[in-house]
């Protein structure tokens, strides 16, 4: 029993929450269409969180995430307004983000500067660049319909956004759990010095993690723009803490203390379900915050107390 709680506490929490809401509001929450809709609503958060998972696999933080989301959203619109064709614009945005990520990763790995402060500084810089690009204004107009379709409508009954999430999640899962790169990243995260002495090259591998995270954040920025049809220079602000909450929930979910993709998905799902369910039940914002906070605490505590006596 306890071992069950230990392993699947967080997952169980998610299921319990879903069941709870379904009972409370069968007509609105419990419907297939709403559950599908939730997968769509959690997509943006989940993709950012998956990026964070990559960086946390090497034992680092990336606080420039939020700034990169805003950056991606703004830059793509700026390029559109400059008449750049959509595919090119998207590539340019991803490329730009990759450069920022590479710089962060290089500084962290090569000079062993704490990633917390490095990415804090990078985030500030990226934020400045974003404001400069947009001169601080919310941008709309000139967004090609084709681009907007990246984040709206359904394909075979599944929302396009959900498909993005599936794609990114599978990709990240393969990278972390099936490919050599993943082994190296986890080795660095587990014991950087031992990994180095065993021949794992710290700098390029760490850079990979940061580049991946940066590109996913920028992707989310573009999807957000496609979703709401406009870009706000601080639009990504809300993602940072929520994304890390998802990752940490995920770390308590499956593998002890290791950021992992399935766990991150569960974490993001919990956050999304709570938001959706409480809104449908007509719970006001501040109550929603209090309840969300309590649920996160409960999830990690259940997991922990499940582990009591198992030392660590």
């Amino acid at each position: 029993m306890t071992s069950f709680v230990r392993r699947y506490g967080t997952l169980a929490a998610l299921v319990a929450i879903v069941i709870g809401f379904s009972i409370a509001s069968p007509g609105a929450f419990g419907t297939a269409s709403n559950l599908i809709n939730i997968t769509q609503q959690m997509t943006l958060l989940a993709i950012v969180a998956i990026g964070a998972t990559l960086v946390m696999a090497v034992g680092e933080f990336d606080l420039s995430t939020a700034a990169l989301v805003s950056f991606g959203g703004i830059l793509v619109v700026v390029l559109f307004k400059a008449g750049v064709p959509a595919p090119l614009a998207c590539l340019a945005v991803l490329g730009g983000a990759a450069v920022f990520g590479a710089v962060s990763g290089f500084i962290v790995a090569r000079f062993e500067v704490l990633s917390f402060i490095t990415t804090l500084a990078m985030g500030t810089i990226i934020g400045g660049v974003t404001f400069w690009l947009s001169s601080g204004a919310t941008l709309f107009g000139d967004i090609p319909a084709g681009f907007r379709d990246l984040a709206r409508g359904k394909i075979a009954g599944i929302p396009t956004l959900t498909l993005w999430l599936l794609g990114v999640a599978v990709l990240a899962w393969v990278v972390l759990d099936k490919v050599e790169l993943g082994r190296r990243l986890y080795a660095i995260g587990g014991n950087r010095e031992a990994a180095r002495l065993a021949g794992v090259r710290i700098v390029p591998n760490t850079m990979m993690a940061f580049v991946g995270s940066a590109m996913l954040s920028a992707l989310v920025g573009m999807l957000l723009t496609a979703r709401i049809g406009s870009a706000n220079p601080t639009g990504g602000g809300g993602f940072l803490l929520a994304a890390y909450a998802a990752v940490f929930l995920g770390m308590t979910a499956f593998r002890e203390g290791e950021a992992n993709v399935p766990g991150t998905l569960v974490g993001a799902a919990i956050i999304a379900v709570v938001g959706n369910g409480l809104t449908i039940l007509g719970v006001s914002t501040f109550m929603q915050d209090i309840i969300t906070g309590l649920i996160i605490l409960a999830a990690v505590l259940v997991r922990r107390t499940g582990m009591e006596g198992h030392g660590r």
Binding site: K178, V179, E180, L181, G182, R183, R184, Y186, A187, G189, G190, N191, E193, A194, A195, R196, L197, A198, G199, V200, R201, G257, E258
Partner: protein, 518 residues
């Protein structure tokens, strides 16, 4: 066995009766017995996993025994917590070094202890005075004001020992492998300190895998096997072989140094590699099948030199070449590609990735071996498990599932994993830093055989060890270092313990004010 005690008649100060401690299925302690009198230096010996550390932890209040009782001066006590043990006058030097890296030796000595105060504020001067006093006995030249994070393993160990001696006078000092990372010179100082302690009526529990020192400084012993006491008595009445017999149930195997076949080619070559504070040039060759020992006092620079050869530290100028091809400074991957292997000094922090599985730890240095298919960077769990199984067979590692964490293994077996990492690729050079630290006699012998096997297969072996017996047993040639310089190159008849020690102190005297009592 009461007649086995030095102070005849006096009631035993500490008695352990039928002590049991089970972790799930594992019977760490299974009816351990121990009798200890004041002023006695009592050794606990046993193989890895015999239960020594667990027994200690029950005394320190870190673990509560599942059964059995602890008597102090004849009255049963339950030791509930660390502070109670401290109050009882018990001091501990635990096996896993437990120091605060940012703190200096002085600060570390007072963690968890009442600080000397002046006007409500901490009195740093008084702290330093007390620590310096305690340090004077065993490590006069230890840098008391350097963060321990920047000290070598050996220096850290000394800080632990000093910490145990500071503060209220102890009744019992427990040392769990205190000399594991000390070279003989350093160990000698410790032994002197232990004698001084016991003369002041302090009881000492001394855990060590180095039987020579057990025979030298202890007056009585208890042997643990699989968690229970299989023998106890006076050192005077038993010999080394007898102890080994008790511990392992079999006789001790000891390696014999094999000089390389005449005319075997040079594999590793160093030429004028600048090293040490004065950047003195270091040059030497190792031939195929040769085991070259590297000896020195704590902080002599052995580990640093090995790291430099391995490419973990860079160097400007000079040349290191393997089989004739020169290696770029600071490129570990070059070494690996050329068939070099390295087993670090600090198993826990430089060797194992404790958050990953045994299989991962074995695969990480060459993931190509466990690919699903050639050319694809896809890792196959099946192949990883298979590789772990191969290593288990080849090195007779005691482990169950390859997906468990490495810390579920005992010290000796953890060490074998670090060797296993390099299996499967043709090995040209094997660099070993303290390969048998904290490893029991049984496992030690197996590791010695391993080293000789690799050498026999034509690898050049470069090994540091602080254990003279081991040095003599394995190496056909010995380089001695003192404060970053090679002070002797001994082989053949010239290779004698006396000359090794002598060379180790040659340079040392400049830095060491006081000639330690060897």
């Amino acid at each position: 066995m009461s007649d086995a005690d030095p102070a005849e008649g006096t009631p035993p100060f500490l008695e352990l009766r039928g002590l049991k401690k089970h972790f799930g299925g594992v019977r760490a302690l299974d009816g351990a017995e121990l009798t200890l009198r004041t002023g006695s230096v009592h050794s606990i010996v046993g193989e890895n996993g015999a239960g020594k550390s667990t027994l200690i932890k029950t005394l320190s209040g870190l673990l509560v025994p599942s059964a059995g009782e602890i008597r102090i001066d004849g009255t049963p006590v339950t030791i509930a917590g660390v502070n109670q043990a401290e109050a009882l006058g018990f001091r501990f030097i635990h096996q896993e070094l437990s120091l605060v890296p940012h703190f200096t030796a002085v600060e570390n000595a007072f963690v968890g202890r009442p600080y000397p105060r002046r006007g409500g504020f901490i009195d740093w001067a008084a702290m330093r005075r007390r620590v310096a006093a305690a340090a004077g006995d065993i490590a006069p030249d230890l840098p008391l004001d350097r963060p321990v994070g920047q000290m070598t393993t050996g220096q850290k160990q000394l800080v632990e020992i000093i910490r145990a001696l500071v503060g209220q006078p102890p009744r019992l000092v427990v040392m769990d492998e205190p000399t594991a990372s000390l070279s003989d010179g350093e160990a000698a100082r410790l032994h002197a300190a232990v004698e001084r302690l016991s003369r002041t009526g302090v009881a000492v529990l001394y855990i060590s895998h180095r039987l020579d020192e057990v025979m030298a400084i202890c007056d009585s012993y208890t042997v643990l096997r699989n968690g229970c006491t299989v023998g106890a008595g006076r050192i005077a009445e038993i010999d080394r072989a007898g102890l080994v017999q008790l511990m392992s149930g079999r006789a001790e195997m000891r390696g014999q140094a094999q000089p390389p076949a005449p005319g075997s080619p040079t594999v590793l070559r160093l030429r004028d590699v600048p090293f040490g504070a004065q950047k003195r040039p270091v040059s030497f060759d190792i031939r195929a099948g040769e085991v070259l020992g590297l000896y020195g006092l704590v902080g002599a620079g052995r580990s640093s030199l090995l790291k430099l050869i391995w490419g973990a530290r860079s160097h400007a100028g000079g040349e290191i070449s393997l089989d004739g091809t020169s290696l770029r400074p600071g490129r570990i991957t070059d070494r690996i590609a050329a068939g070099a292997a390295y087993v670090p000094e600090d198993r826990r922090h430089e060797g194992l990735i404790v958050s990953r599985s045994i299989a991962d730890n074995l695969a990480i240095s060459d993931l190509r071996q466990v690919r699903r298919a050639k050319g694809l960077p896809l890792t196959s769990r099946g192949r990883m498990a298979a590789r772990a199984e191969d290593v288990r067979k080849a090195l007779s590692v005691k482990m169950d599932a390859p997906w468990n964490g490495p810390l579920t293994l005992s010290g000796g077996n953890q060490q074998k994993l670090l060797f296993g990492r390099w299996l499967g690729t043709p090995m040209r050079v094997l660099i070993l830093d303290e390969p048998t630290r904290g490893v029991d006699v049984g496992a030690k012998a197996e590791i010695h055989q391993l080293v000789q096997r690799f050498a026999a297969d034509g690898a050049a072996v470069l090994m540091t060890t602080s254990d003279l017996d081991e040095l003599m047993a394995l190496s056909s040639r010995v380089l001695v270092m003192a404060s970053g310089e090679i002070t002797a190159d001994l082989d053949g008849d010239a290779l004698m313990p006396a000359r090794v020690i002598d060379a180790a102190f040659q340079q040392g005297q400049r830095t060491t004010p006081k000639e330690p009592s060897v």
